[in-house]
C-alpha cells in the first residue's frame, strides 16, 4: 500500500489561502507554481526549520470497513520509517534509509524494494520535498488549466530522472496542492494512483493537508492526519531496517 505521499507543507497563513490569483491569463511557468506553493505554505525559511517530523494519523479503507493507526517518522535527507497497524491485517512496516527501501508485513514477510519501486520510495521519503523539487525532478512543465472537483487548478507534470512522470494539480486561487496522479510501481505491477488533499492545518509553522483520499486500482483509502510533531529527537536506530530485512540487504550487496 502506498503511504501518505507528498503531504504538502503549508505555513498557516490564512491571508495567503484567500489571496487573489497571481495569474489571470496564460498558465504560468511550472517553477513559479511550485515555488508559489512553498510561498503560500509559509516560505522556505519555515520549511528549513523542520529537522524531523513524526506524523500520526488514521488510515481507513471505507469499502472494506478496515481501519488502522499510522505513525511515520521522517528525517533528512530521505530517512523514513512508517508503521501501520491495520485491523484484520496486522502490522505493515516500511522504510527508506541509506539508499535502500523495504517493507515488511504479517501477510508477506520482509521485502527489499527494487528498481523503480525503490526510486519512487526514496523520492517520496525526501525530507522537505516542496523546497527540494529541483533536486528530485529533471523537468517540470505546466500542462494547462484543469478543473478538479469544481476548482480551477494548474496541472504540473514532474518528470523524475528515471520512471514515470507525476501530475500535480495546484489551485489557481490558493496555490495549494489539490490532487496528484501518478503510476505507482509496486510488486503487483504498475497501479494508477490518484490522491486528493484537503483540510490544510499548521504544524510547526507549516501547513499539512490533514485529509487525503487515495484511489489505487479498485481500492480507496482515506488518511486523516491527527498530529505532526516537528523536531522531535528521533534516535538513528529508528530508521534501521529490521534484522531480517537487514540480512536481505546484506545478501543483495553480496556481503
Amino acid at each position: 500500500m502506498r503511504q501518505i505521499t507528498r503531504i504538502g507543507r503549508v505555513v498557516a497563513l490564512g491571508g495567503a489561502l484567500g489571496g487573489a490569483p497571481v495569474w489571470a491569463q496564460a498558465p504560468p511557468d511550472a517553477a513559479a507554481i511550485l515555488d508559489r506553493y512553498v510561498e503560500v505554505t509559509g516560505g522556505r525559511a519555515a520549511y528549513e526549520k523542520h529537522q524531523t517530523e513524526v506524523l500520526t494519523g488514521v488510515v481507513e479503507f471505507p469499502a472494506q470497513g478496515l481501519k488502522g493507526k499510522l505513525v511515520r517518522y521522517s528525517a533528512p535527507p530521505d530517512k523514513e520509517y512508517s508503521i501501520l497497524d491495520l485491523e484484520g491485517i496486522g502490522l505493515i512496516e516500511s522504510g527508506v534509509n541509506a539508499g535502500a527501501a523495504w517493507e515488511k508485513s504479517v501477510l508477506l514477510g520482509p521485502r527489499v524494494k527494487p528498481g523503480e519501486e525503490r526510486d519512487q520510495a526514496i523520492r517520496e521519503a525526501h525530507f522537505n520535498q516542496p523546497i527540494e523539487w529541483r533536486k528530485l525532478y529533471q523537468k517540470a512543465a505546466t500542462a494547462g488549466l484543469q478543473t478538479v472537483d469544481g476548482e480551477e487548478c494548474y496541472e504540473v507534470v514532474l518528470t523524475p530522472p528515471a520512471g514515470k512522470p507525476e501530475h500535480q494539480f495546484y489551485s489557481r486561487k490558493t496555490g495549494l496542492l489539490v490532487r496528484t496522479t501518478m503510476v505507482a510501481a509496486s510488486q503487483m505491477g504498475d497501479i494508477e494512483v490518484e490522491v486528493d488533499f484537503a483540510d490544510y492545518k499548521g504544524f510547526g509553522g507549516v501547513l499539512f493537508p490533514t485529509r487525503s483520499k487515495q484511489r489505487a486500482g479498485s481500492q480507496e483509502l482515506n488518511i486523516t492526519v491527527e498530529q505532526v510533531r516537528v523536531n522531535d529527537a528521533i534516535p538513528p536506530e529508528r530508521f534501521e531496517p529490521p534484522t531480517d530485512v537487514a540480512a536481505m540487504l546484506r545478501n543483495a550487496a553480496g556481503k
Partner: protein
C-alpha cells in the same frame, strides 16, 4: 444468511403451496408499473456491466449496441418470465460465468435458513446423495459417541429438521445456474441451526437402515474473527503430522493476524517433513493476499507469481515473496468442488508453477470477486468485477483447478473410514522420498 432463524415444519408445505402461485405469477400479464420495474431492472443490469466489468468492451462486445438490441425486447415483455429471459439472454452474450439473474425463489433456495450452530459433521453431495464426510467438525468425534448418539462417515443424510434433503438436492441440481459449490453451501445451511437448538436428523447407514438422531447444535469450531465489513467468522487452523508428512488445514483464508503466523510456525515445525499436505477441501476462500503470503512459505524462488487479476482500473500480479525458511519439499494440495476463490488461486497457481501436485476433484471455478445485487423487480443479479488468469494462462473462473490426480470420495470408502484423497497424497509423498 447465517443469522436467519430456521423455519421448521411448514416450510415444505409452504413451498408446495406457493409453487403453483409463483408459476402463475410468472405467466401473469404485467401492469404498467410492473413493466417499468422490469425496464428499470434491465437498465440496472446493463449499466452495472458497463461501469464495473473489467473490460471496457465487456465480453469483446459493443455494449451500447447490446443495449439498443435488447431494450425494445424488455419493453415488450408481457410477463416476469419473459423479462427475466431478456436479461438472461443479454448476459449470455458475455459468454462469461458469474453473471446471472436469480429469481427470488432460487436465491432463497441457495441462501437457506442457516444459523451458525453445527451438528458436528460435514457433508458433501456424492452422486446426488448428501453424505457425511467428516465427524469431527465440532471438535468432538461423533463416530466415538455412545450408542444411539454416534454419527459415522459415509452415512447418508436424508433429512435435517423439516428439510427433505434428496428433494432439495434434486431441485438445486436441476438449475444449471447453481453450481455444486452452491448446492453444498445450501445443504450445509439446512443441517445447521441456532447454537443450542436440538435438531432432528435421519440418516441411512451403510446397510440402508434409517438412523434417527437428535443432535444438539454446537458453536462452530475456531475463533471468531472480524475483517472489516464482513460479519465475524469462526476461523480455525489445524496442523498435525501423519507419520513424516505435515498436514495443514484451515477453513477460510481469514483471521490473517493469527493464521499467517500459524502457517509460518507449521512450516518451521515441518522443516524436516517428508512432504507437506495443504487441505483446502471445503475452503471457500477469503483474503486473496493470503494466497500470496502462504505461497511465499512454499518456494525459494523469486520472480514467481500465482496469476494475474484484471480489473477495470488495474492489473494486479499475485506475486510470491519467498520467505527465508521456505519449505521446498514435496507439496500436495487437496481440493474439491467446494474449494473456491482464494483456494483456487493458491492451488491453481502453485500447480502452474509445478510447485504442487493437486489431489481430489475439480474446484468450484469461482475465483472471481462477484457480487449479488437486488434488482428493482426483486430478482437477484450476480456479476463479477474482475477477471483472474492463473500463471499458466488459464482462467480459473468457470473452469476451476483440475487436479493432477483425480481422486473422488466414495460412500464406500468413507464407510470404511478411509479418506481416499488424503491417502493418495500421502502415498505420492512417500514415493517421492524413494526416488533416487
Amino acid at each position: 444468511m447465517r443469522t436467519r432463524q430456521p423455519r421448521p415444519g411448514p416450510r415444505l408445505l409452504g413451498a408446495a403451496l406457493l409453487g403453483p402461485l409463483f408459476a402463475a405469477n410468472l405467466l401473469a400479464q404485467l401492469s404498467a408499473s410492473q413493466k417499468q420495474l422490469q425496464v428499470d431492472s434491465f437498465e440496472t443490469v446493463w449499466t452495472t456491466i458497463r461501469d464495473k466489468h473489467w473490460d471496457t468492451r465487456p465480453g469483446g462486445l459493443d455494449w451500447q449496441a447490446i443495449h439498443d438490441e435488447y431494450r425494445p425486447q424488455i419493453e415488450k415483455a408481457q410477463t416476469v418470465d419473459q423479462a427475466r429471459g431478456v436479461m438472461r439472454a443479454m448476459l449470455a452474450r458475455l459468454n462469461q460465468t458469474h453473471f446471472a439473474i436469480l429469481a427470488p425463489g432460487v436465491a432463497e433456495d441457495i441462501a437457506g435458513d442457516g444459523g451458525e450452530g453445527t451438528p458436528g459433521f460435514d457433508i458433501r453431495v456424492l452422486d446426488g446423495h448428501v453424505i457425511v464426510t467428516d465427524v469431527k467438525v465440532g471438535g468432538i468425534d461423533l463416530a466415538a459417541a455412545g450408542p444411539g448418539s454416534e454419527v459415522r462417515l459415509g452415512w447418508e443424510v436424508i433429512s435435517a429438521g423439516s428439510w427433505d434433503l434428496p428433494v432439495l438436492v434434486e431441485k438445486l441440481r436441476a438449475d444449471p445456474a447453481i453450481h455444486e459449490y452452491a448446492v453444498v453451501r445450501a445443504i450445509l445451511s439446512r443441517i445447521a441451526g441456532p447454537v443450542g437448538y436440538t435438531k432432528h436428523y435421519v440418516f441411512l447407514d451403510g446397510a440402508g437402515a434409517r438412523v434417527p438422531r437428535d443432535v444438539r447444535l454446537q458453536a462452530p469450531r475456531g475463533e471468531l474473527a472480524g475483517f472489516g465489513n464482513l460479519p465475524p467468522q469462526h476461523v480455525w487452523f489445524e496442523f498435525r503430522k501423519i507419520g513424516g508428512v505435515g498436514y495443514i488445514r484451515f477453513n477460510e483464508f481469514l483471521d490473517l493476524p493469527r493464521l499467517m503466523p500459524a502457517f509460518g510456525k507449521a512450516i518451521e515445525d515441518c522443516a524436516k517433513c517428508d512432504g507437506l499436505i495443504v487441505d483446502l477441501r471445503g475452503n471457500p476462500g477469503g483474503i486473496g493476499g493470503m494466497a500470496m503470503g502462504m505461497a511465499g512459505w512454499l518456494t525459494d524462488r523469486s520472480d514467481q507469481r500465482l496469476g494475474t487479476m484484471y480489473m477495470r482500473s488495474a492489473t494486479l500480479k499475485f506475486f510470491l515473496n519467498p520467505r527465508a525458511d521456505a519449505y521446498t519439499g514435496p507439496l500436495a494440495i487437496l481440493v474439491d468442488g467446494t474449494s473456491a476463490s482464494t483456494s483456487e488461486i493458491f492451488a491453481g497457481g502453485l500447480q502452474d508453477l509445478h510447485r504442487a501436485r493437486i489431489f481430489g476433484t475439480r474446484t468450484a471455478g469461482a475465483a472471481l470477486p462477484s457480487l449479488i445485487a437486488r434488482l428493482p423487480n426483486g430478482d437477484g443479479f450476480q456479476y463479477a468485477v474482475a477477471n483472474y488468469i492463473s500463471e499458466g494462462g488459464r482462467p480459473l473462473e468457470g473452469n476451476g483447478v483440475t487436479p493432477d490426480v483425480e481422486v473422488r470420495l466414495t460412500r464406500e470408502s468413507l464407510l470404511a473410514g478411509h479418506d481416499a484423497v488424503a491417502a493418495s497424497a500421502v502415498e505420492w509423498i512417500r514415493q517421492q522420498g524413494k526416488k533416487p
